[in-house]
Every structure is written in C-alpha cells, then in structure tokens.
Symmetry: C2
Subunit: 337 residues, 2 copies
C-alpha cells in the first residue's frame, strides 16, 4: 500500500512537471518569484523606480484634480479596489460621456508586461499611455496646462517631486505622467499559476491543471501567452464576422486588429472584449474559440478552462490610501462643462 | 537673566492655560486623547464597533457597485484622500447631475461628532444618513433592492457579514448602511488643536494661539463649538440677506436654517458654505462675521483666525485600500440611464 501510494505520487509529480514544460513550450511565462528578476522586468531604465517616486505616483494616480472636473482620477476607470478596471461595458468619462468607440477600460494590473498599450496597441509603454486618458475629452478632459498648474499649485507636491527627482526638477505634464506610470509598473499580481510555473507543482488544484492543459491543447495560448497571457500582439480582427462587431465604431489598428487582453484576474474584469459586450467568462471562452481558433469549444472544455483561469487571480499589492495635498488658491478650479 | 527668562516662561504658561480655559468656556472641546474615552464617544451602543465590521464597512464605502451605474461610491463625493469631500461647489451624481439644491458635499471626517446630519440636520446620525445618498437620484441612484442583491450576490461579502454579525445575519439595506456608518464613525482626525486643549500648551504656535483668541473674542465659537467646532445646531439663515443666497433652491430646515459645518480640516474642504460659493477661507471668515455676527472682521483678524484654523488640520486614519470581492453572474449589471 505504501509503495502504491508513493508510485502514484511520483506519477502525479511527473505529470505536473510535464505540464509545466508544455506551458513553457506554449509561450506561457510566470511572473518571476525573485524580486531582483522581477524588478529588472518592470523597471524603467531611463527613470528608475524608487520609493519616493512610487508614493508620489500613487498620489497622482488617485488625484481627481488632474481632471477638468476635479472628479475623475486614473483610479476612476482603472479602479485598484476592483480588477484594475471599472466593470462597465464602455468607459464613462467627463460629463458622463461613454467612450465614443465604445471601448472597455482594460485593467492596469500587470499592464507593465504588455508590449503595447491601448486596444489598438498604439502606444509602446505605460509612460506614453498615461498621457492619453488625462487629455482625452470623454475621459479626464484636461489640458497639459491644467495638469501642470494643478500640481505646481501645491507646495507639498512640489516638495515631493524635488525629493523624488532633485531640486531642479521641472514639473511638466510628462514628468507627472511618467511618475504615474512608474507607480503603475509595480501593479503586478503574482498568483498560484506563477507558483506552479516557478516549480511548485502543488500550487494548482488538479482541476486547474486539467484546465491549463485544455487551455494549451485548444490553442488559447497561441494568442494568450507571455507573462500577461496577452498584451503582446494584435490579432483579433474587429471587422471579421463576429456577432458583437456592431457595437461602437472602433476600427482596431492599421490591420483592423485588436490587442489580445491579459487573462490575469480575468474573473474580476467582466464585461469582456474590447467592447465589453460579454459578461459571462464561459461564453467569452467559447466565443473566442469560435471566432479566433475556428474551434468548437464544448461546455465541458470551457468549464475546465474557466477553472484554470481562476488560478490567475493574483495577490494585489497592499497599498495605503494616499492622503492628497490640499488645494491652494492657485489650484485650477473644477470645470464641469 | 535666568530669573527673567523663567518669569517670562511662567507668564507664557499662565497665558496659555488661561486661553485653554477660555476655549472651554466658549464651548470648545477636544477630541479625547485617551482611546477608551474616544471609543465611548464614537461607538454605536446598539451596534458596537469591531475590527470585522470596520473592514467590511470600508469595503462597502469604497464599492461603486452599490450605485445604479456601478461607478459611484460613498468615496466619490466624500473622498478620504481629499478632505473627506469632493472639492466641487455642488455634488455631482448619477448621469453627471449636480445636486438639485446646489448643495456642497460636507466632509465625512469627524461627522460622528455632529448632533445632526445633512445641511438641514434632518437625520440624527450616520446610520440614518448613509441611507440617503445611495438612494438619492442625483447621487448614487440605487434602490434598496439593488444594494441588497449586489451585496448578497458575492459570497465573500456574505461571509464577511457572517463573520461580523453571526451566521444568521440578514443582509438587508439597513445592515449595509449601518456597517458603512460604523466605518465612518472611526474617521476622526485629532490635531495640534486637540493636543493643546488636552494640556500640551506648546502644541500651538503663538500665531495659532493668537488666532484662537481672536476666534473666541470675535464670537465664532458661539456657533462653531463642541468637538467638531460645528455640526450641532442649525443657525445659518438661508433666506436672510446674503450675497450668495441666490444659488440653488435649498430652503434649509423648517426655520430656514442651515447646519453649522465643522471647521476641522477646513483648509482642505473648499469651496465653502452649504452652496459651495466661496473658495477663499479668509473671505469665508469675513463674510460669516458680517452675516452671522454683524461683526466687521478686519483683514488682520481674519488672517489670524485663518492661522488658528490651520491647527485644525488633523491626522487622518491610515487606511489600506480595500480589495473588493469580484462580481458574480448574480450581481446586478450597471445601468447608466
């Protein structure tokens, strides 16, 4: 009996090891377990991460006064208490205006691992991305001047920029957005899946292991790969036959393609797709099989994949709620119009 | 020389002691320094504060899914990263609608010390107050049913309610709002001013002490008294001659009176007054003297009072950002309309 049990365990161990190999062959990569290795991946070589910059970036990320109305912050649509998004189909911005292309807010968690930002992948990194929504009219609707005046109007912000970057820092729009992006770079959420790929074969349940195998076998990893299980190529053809294509006027990139979104924390980021038209994860899985893979994913397979996806729910960084500097008489007043 | 110095110190000490006495005679009270004494003041005797309830209440306070749109939480208008308010003249709610009476969002910090809630003082405590904005149409625009369905749709919320209140807890609207209110009860911000009234005569600068004396001498404390320096009576006559009376249609309480707001953290809660029409604290001080006291407060006196008011900037509770439970298929979908 003892021998049989140890044989069984050895077999299970071998199977798990082989699944880890299979995952790596399919292009799946874990968030590194080592802090140094992780930092090398997420750091900005031209603007190194420091504690002072992170704390400042967090304040700016949560500061609604960067918006025209003084009511919308980065955290409004990329809510760190939720899945790093807003849970609605299309982002709602200034004056309650929905995104004109009916685009869904993507999660900011693990966005540092993407090769490109925005649904059409038009920006290369978080630094460039952060400049967009602040100025976009249906989002934060601010001007560069508004942001610069706002931040420079508060002595505490100025002092914190000086601590972070040196006394001769020029606090312009790009310095503000670069600092927000640095904060966003630390928003990574390691999960049981990473433990598994990093060598702990017991980190996943058997059902999750089965789901991972289905995920690979069906072909999901041909697009959802890399550390983020997405975020590194534009492959979804928005003009192809697709039952949800008629929502919004989004045209994708120059090839009419949409970026593959990350699957990390996917259980928390419904509704799905660039247009936020599907609320059920299982339905989203089956639909992607049909449209992208020409595969007829069965209900049972979809349930198995969904079980695996739960293992991508990660541990979010523990953040203290920032306390923002008080406005001064020089701080631009809110404008609701 | 030594004698002269000690005489001087003794005199200063006497003066400070006398100012503390004067403040107490004027009805000014500190936040108690002792934790037990403070808890007795802020606790709800019918629903005692516990760590489990606070953590749960914090989640609910930050959860935008309690609103019809899933985008507005208590923290949207009572932003704990700011002054516990939103920094705009009139609260902006569902569908970007301004408060129909053009009322300014009051701070939630130290609201536990008020004898009455809302600008007209119509509700007696935070528990009752919390029921209002969630259901108000231009605010969170939700129904009781929406809130109950939302919270009960997430197993983690249900488990946390059970941990907090026992396994047989019925999670209805009132239980949700009571729990939010419990969280709000701990949002107190002790300041240098409290240290001073609690006996540390060096806690205030000389300019702040002079300002406190001016504050009392001019008569400000006749309305702004108690622990919150406000919040315990309705005395501001909205229909009296008043240059800002024409904004909004707010009629005050049955005597056309508005509640006296707290002065704690007042440097962070512009714009001022129930209608949010004055942005400058100094101007607000002078105007209040004119309208409420019939006093002609000089620029110098106003500057002195303002200096004192800075001593009311308190230390906010250190909060970790809550991580909310994920929605399920049973969670009501957002409705933007």
């Amino acid at each position: 009996m003892k021998i049989a049990l140890s044989l069984l365990l050895a077999t299970t161990g071998l199977m798990a090891a082989s699944l880890q190999e299979q995952a790596k062959e399919a292009g799946l990569k874990p968030i590194p377990a080592g802090k140094t290795e992780l930092m090398q991946l997420i750091d900005n070589t031209e603007n190194k991460i420091t504690d002072a910059k992170i704390e400042l970036g967090k304040k700016l990320y949560f500061d609604p006064r960067l918006s025209k109305s003084n009511l919308i912050s980065c955290n409004t649509c990329h809510n760190l208490s939720e899945g790093g998004d807003d849970g609605v189909s299309a982002a709602i911005g200034h004056k309650w205006t929905a995104n004109p292309h009916h685009l869904n807010s993507p999660t900011v968690y693990n966005a540092v691992f993407f090769n490109a930002q925005f649904w059409d992948g038009r920006d290369p990194d978080l630094e460039k991305q952060a400049q967009g929504p602040i100025q976009a009219h249906p989002e934060m609707a601010a001007t560069k001047e508004h942001v610069e005046k706002t931040v420079n109007s508060m002595p505490q912000y100025v002092a914190e920029f000086q601590s972070a970057y040196g006394d001769d820092v020029k606090i312009n729009f790009e310095k503000v957005t670069d600092t927000i992006a640095l904060f966003e770079r630390i928003l990574v959420t390691p999960s049981a899946y990473d433990d598994f790929l990093n060598g702990n074969k017991d980190a996943l349940t058997q059902a999750q292991k089965n789901g991972l195998k289905t995920f690979i076998d069906v072909g999901c990893a041909s697009c959802h790969n890399g550390i983020a299980l997405g975020g590194n190529m534009n492959v979804f053809n928005v003009t192809a036959t697709y039952k949800h294509q008629n929502v919004g006027d989004f045209k994708g990139d120059t090839n009419a393609m949409v970026k593959v979104p990350t699957l990390r924390n996917i259980t928390q980021t419904a509704p799905y797709y660039h247009n936020g038209q599907i609320w059920s994860l299982k339905e989203a899985i089956i639909e992607m099989g049909r449209v992208q893979l020409g595969a007829d994913i069965s209900d049972k397979q979809a349930a198995s994949i969904e079980e695996f996806l739960k293992a991508l729910d990660g541990e979010k960084p523990l953040l203290t709620l920032p306390i923002l500097p008080a406005s001064t008489s020089a701080t631009p007043k809110p404008d609701m119009h």
